[in-house]
Amino acid sequence: MLISRLKQKGIVLGTLVILTGLTTGSAMALNLQNNSPTERIHIASYLDTFTNQELASGASLILEGTVLEIHPATWNTPSGRMPKDIKLNDIVYTDVSIKIDTILKGTPKSNDIVTVRVYKGEIPGEFAFSSDTEADFSNNEKVLLFLMEDDSIYNKDKSQNHYVIMGQYQGKYTVEQKKVSNFKSTLDTKSIYEVIEKHKDDPTPEILVKQEGAELEK
């Protein structure tokens, strides 16, 4: 009788263990399949609105190129890992390698490939920084880029090995069949090349030049 009860309990326990294992396994499998980030910060920026003339004068490097590789997103911490406390200058970024086809202004840091950094990205299963104004890229995409040095607080070690896009999405055009297009407009390649050539040596746009007496504080 006792043995029979123990056997029954054993069967029940065994079944529970198997069921728990199966459930946990399924949950783990689901978790592995669902790589969406567990936490998210979204950034919405009030951008400077630049004309193409201003992009041409303000950018230090203008080029036409092809997207070679979109690198995995990473934290801008020394370890590349998520910090314990997220501060204002902590963010996730994504580097994009661009093969240079034509240089329209400036001298790139490398002759054939430049790195463009966008401050957004998702680390699967961990964290995401999203932005409605940073540009998106796709592999093999032909692009026209207005680039500048990264003087942002996110570039903690003041690294010079990459560029950022002037005016975020405004400074990136997709090139297709003699047309360039972005969120704002579609133009003939020839006409934007003429604007670049005409204005690339103009002074820096005034909104980027800080003036005395126009600050928040008196």
Partner: protein, 185 residues
Amino acid sequence: MFIGSLLIGYSSVSFAYNLDPYGGHWEKGVDYTYSIASSISDEGVDSIVLASDQWDTIRKKKFSLEYSGDRNKQNNPMENINGENEVFKIDMGTSQAPANARWKYSGDIITEGDIILNSSRNLSNSSKPSKTAYHVPSIMVHEFGHIIGLDHSDNKDAVMYVSPAGTVKYQLGKDDINGYNAIDW
């Protein structure tokens, strides 16, 4: 065709607003209380409060924005994700935007919203800013709109439309109010 044109016109006017891209909203009954960095002048505080007050003028409002009056809370000005709603002013760099709002989600619930004014730009409290300066009440009412749960609008009359430097526009437009009323609180 006439009805079609009317519908297109109606949709472009009435639905120019956009809601939070991830469907985020604050928990029902929770109000937004914020502190302001001690690095911001008294004039700047007045501009910021003027901006948040605009969203409180909405009839049948479902959400309140309130300045806590706290200027000393931020011992570490770089502290960000700490459960507090804060307005900062720091030098973000020339390559960064004049202002941004950042908010954190827990599921689709927004749990914290901070705003950063970029001191690398010309920021003005004057009602007649120069064409190269950003009018603080105008950019702040826009940033508070993000915190509430609105994205950029395509309607040029809306405060949620991104206007060039020198623009003074801090009173809510019809499109802003329509967007506010469309948020799933």
